[in-house]
Amino acid sequence: MSDLLPFGPGAWAFIALYLALLLLLGWAGRAARKEDTLQDFYLGGRGFGFFVLLLTLYATQYSGNTIFGVAGATYRFGFGWLISVHYMLAIIVFYLAFAPQLHKLSRDRGYITPADYLQDRFESKAISLIGSVVMIVALNNYLLAQLMTLGRAMQGLAGPLGDEAYNYGVIGLALIMLIYGTLGGLRAIAWTDVVQGGVLLVGFFVLLVLLIDQFGPLSAATARVVASPDAFKVARPEPAMLREWVSYVIVIGVGGALYPHAIQRIYAARSRRTLNLSLASMTFLPFVTALVAVIAGIYALAYVPGLEGAATDQALARLLRIVQENSQLGYAVVVLIFSALLAALMSTADSAMLSISSMFTKDIYAVHLNPNASESELTMIGKRCSWVVVGALVVLAIVLKEETSLIGLIDRKFDILVQLAPAFMLGIHAPFLRKVPVLVGLVAGLIIALGLAFGPFDFVVAGKVWGLHPGLYGLAVNATIAVAGSRWVARRSQILA
């Protein structure tokens, strides 16, 4: 991650102050609690206004990967990684397919978790259970990736004590997140997101100014790349990468829109107008976030050439080190950018944690294990669930420290999440969609996606088939079965009637 960015006591004090503020907001969230119910704890009482909703959606959607991962990918693929601007925008476009309608239904029918909609729409415990399990698996994977990145960030800062710093970093930051998350629920997490989203936005703006100030205009950086053996990274991507472009836009666009923590923010909006206004504003944020990360990757390609393999993910950190060593102001700015990285990681991880806890409590514990539990009992179980899940993932993050192939896992996460698209995006519009074809389609889609991803097939290259994610093949079959099967069932019932 950040390859040796040595910080002094002042920088650590600033970061400690920032973390203390998060705890304070957790306490404030608890003080603002109106009732001891799942709706209050997991949806903040459904009272999020425009400002809080926008920043919590923003902070949650943009993870630590947006900063370092996108800069690293740009270093490897060049301007072709403008794909990242496109897929971040595609998430908002796919919200159009269901978010405004789902918000209205959630208020009318009192949904807390995404599976509440599935149960209400299809009246099938199997669809709801599979939906919850898919979402919990995908989010656990995501949360683990965020915890490992947190550890690597601390590892990078600590120099020779890196290994211990990784462990303490993961444990300490997870503990802070658990405290404010279980104190104040979604209300506290959304308030911390306002701070984290603000730091993130400022961090990206400052990063851009800093790069121009330190290295000169982008035109000079691009000219250096054009004059180097990496000149092909300035040209239009090859046809194979253009196919991957389409695949990334659909898989991340659909999968990102179906993130359970994002769906719960749709439920938490004060009104449909508030939701639409926030999503309308979100459409412009890829240009001040992902695009800046792409530009940073180009600067790294120009001024820190020669990185290969996993080291390319350190491209931005190496660039920042040059900046940090050159002036006191540069040092202060790097501390701010590091804080933005922490903000991006923690705001994504805390939301995933809360969403997992809500789905386990409401969709699994309350339905299958203890149907008579009261609301306050369920809230307590949810809090304990957060501690157990995060505790287990912290242990995994420490055990898997040396694993670097996380990008593979992240790709699989979207492959399975997109299989829920027919149930959510078609199911909300098409009354003819029936539960059995939707269930069969979902199971078939999951088998195809996972079978292609993990099976011993020679035609699967770098986790993709002809440049397309396995999840897309699964989704095509899944949607076909759901739609054609529902039509067939309807026709058969008509004939029998």
């Binding site: 403008l82 496109h86 925008l89 476009v93 209205k104 040209a235 090859e238 107008r273």
Partner: protein, 70 residues
């Protein structure tokens, strides 16, 4: 249980057209000409992405309010 609303299918057509503009399949391969530090194909892509943002924003803001909704 499905929410009903008058479908606006032409929106999908606009998105497909925008997708075809954003992905630079139509640009000559190997062209490394730039302006302001951005390759020309990237400027075309970013302009189409900005159009996509503006269109999406408009669709959200012009969302018809259902009678009795909230």
């Amino acid at each position: 249980m499905a929410a009903h609303r008058k479908p606006r299918r032409w929106i999908i057509v606009v998105y497909l057209a925008l997708l075809a503009l954003v992905i630079p399949w139509y640009w000559p391969a190997g062209d490394t000409r730039t302006a302001y530090g951005l390759p020309l194909w990237a400027i075309a892509t970013l302009a189409a992405l900005l159009l996509t943002s503006a269109f999406t924003s408009w669709v959200f803001l012009s969302w018809p309010e259902d009678a009795g909704d909230e």
